[in-house]
Symmetry: C2
Subunit: 73 residues, 2 copies
């Protein structure tokens, strides 16, 4: 998986923001209404996350959706 | 479909940016490497667009991916 794939870059953003807030993957998943394994897959760059889950993650991390895309082209 | 759904807001952003550039849906689809019907569905707020297509659309519209999320929470 190329290091600059959208899934990889997005996953890195989620992990960074999550760790900055001191949340576990489990806690982020609960806040976002997602399954813990799904959050793990996102952070590993395995998930082609859709709009609805993007907005859920942004809300759970207390940021705007666009903030999750800072590192993406 | 609630007016503020992520799919609706994203679709509106794509349509606005596309029309600003004077592209038809067909031309945007071609630039983004997507099917014309898929672009139509996105603009109607019917598609839960994933990361990979988000980046393709941003590139085709000559913006950063985050710019497509200005109107989203």
């Amino acid at each position: 998986m190329p290091a600059h794939s959208p899934k990889f870059l997005f996953g890195k953003s989620i992990r960074t923001l999550r760790e900055e807030r001191g949340y576990s993957q489990e806690e982020l998943a609960e806040r976002a209404g997602l399954h813990r394994n799904y959050v793990g897959g996102i952070e590993r760059g395995e998930r082609n996350v859709g709009l609805e889950n993007i907005v859920k993650l942004a809300k759970a991390l207390s940021v705007k959706s666009r903030d999750l895309f800072e590192s993406l082209p």
